[in-house]
Symmetry: C2
Subunit: 254 residues, 2 copies
């Protein structure tokens, strides 16, 4: 009797972004694990047990799900967005590597989802029209010095930058420092997009500039996109502005 573990991306929140693959994997599970607010997005299904846990307990949650699957159950771990992008898939893999040999024999599948950077981008145009990167501003699991080094590398080489986890209650200053850092590389007018809770009822998307970015409210539900020297804003009468980065880059930027 071999257990099965599915690590499922729920996308940005609204069921219209949930893939049929993810929906089938959710229905198939006997037990659901996840951060409570993500678990609450999953419709209740008779006979399924639910195991909510707090944020920042990824390792313990992953281990609990693996133990359950190793007993022969069909277990699902849910993530917002895509499980592979600053979410549960890496935590699961780390537990499998550190855990008993039996965990390596489990049937493990990862079900991709629409990650926040793509959901926010789609609301505003095509900010990632050219080469891009994603950086988590959380310094819980890496030194802040490394975040700064990556911001420097990305901005000076002309990558569009997605900033995940810009601000939390425990990390109030990091986002301001990151914006300040980026100003050393990019013009004050560089377009910056704030997308909050995209795909949920309180969705809010705002276009601003690098000059104004640190005065704009952000929290853990916010995804910030910092453009390049080439990123353009198209004003439209009667429609929201479009933000895009042209596919062509004529010269080495920055």
């Amino acid at each position: 009797m071999n257990g099965r573990l599915a690590v499922i991306g729920l996308g940005p929140g609204d069921p219209r972004y949930l893939t049929p693959d993810a929906e089938a994997a959710l229905r198939d599970a006997q037990a659901l694990y996840g951060y409570a607010p993500y678990l609450n997005r999953v419709p209740v299904c008779a006979g399924q047990s639910r195991h909510p846990s707090d944020n920042r307990e990824e390792g313990a949650r992953a281990a609990a799900a693996l133990r359950h699957a190793a007993q022969g159950a069909r277990v699902a771990v849910v993530s917002g967005g895509d499980p592979g992008v600053f979410a549960m898939a890496a935590a699961l893999c780390a537990e499998i590597e550190a855990g008993p040999e039996s965990w390596r024999a489990l049937d493990v599948v990862f079900v991709p989802g629409i990650t926040a950077m793509l959901a926010v981008a789609a609301k505003i145009g095509a900010p990632f029209g050219h080469d891009f990167c994603a950086i988590s501003l959380s310094d819980n699991l890496k030194p802040w010095q490394l975040v700064e080094r990556r911001l420097d590398a990305a901005a000076s080489a002309g990558f569009v930058i997605a900033l995940y986890n810009p601000v939390s209650r425990a990390r109030p200053w990091q986002f301001g420092h990151a914006i300040e850092r980026l100003r050393a590389h990019l013009p004050a007018a560089t377009p910056v997009v704030f997308g909050r809770a995209v795909g949920r009822p309180d969705e809010h998307v705002r276009v601003t500039s690098l000059a104004e970015a640190d005065a704009t409210p952000a929290d853990m539900a916010t995804l910030v996109i910092v453009g390049t020297r080439e990123t353009r804003v198209i004003a439209r009468s009667g429609q929201t502005a479009l933000v895009y980065t042209p596919r062509a880059a004529a010269e080495v930027s920055a």
Copy 2:
């Protein structure tokens, strides 16, 4: 009578990755535009006209779709993967910016999809468990010198790297040069993942190393993921190996 234009991400190819949002937008369209192989993935719907075009005609395709929508039609442009990642969304925005004022008044929506890097990652574990970037190796629209500069910046700052468009008939040497370039920054044992046609019947995923990467076949349907110094391969008996990048980075890498 206002036209409507939807730029729709089909995901990796299999309908199980197509979001309900994308499916609804496809059904709603009166006319479908796209690169012929992508258009062929969309089920035929009575009363819809189809306008296939060749690859590398993105600008002309976007302009044709905009003209059609400006006549008051509900038009859809389809992309593989996500329309905002090396696909049609940026081409559409560029045509809107350059085109007549009436195109700015159109109702334009972008429907996100599962992009290739996330689909390939999900097949193998969590290679993007840490900060990452995406670089198109096509030098049709940017100088090769800029590609090299971005490879240097990304590898030396410890980003996991997704390489889109690694090889085409017209660009036979770029991928080998890129791998050679990365070897100056990363150990020969750095894990490299090749994912070809993921989500389609001829899907193939292979794990190799930076030392072997340029000897591994790749084409335009291949997405290549180059790990960091921290990226791990977990061998599993009776299961395929898992590749993941730990969420924690203890020091400045590379």
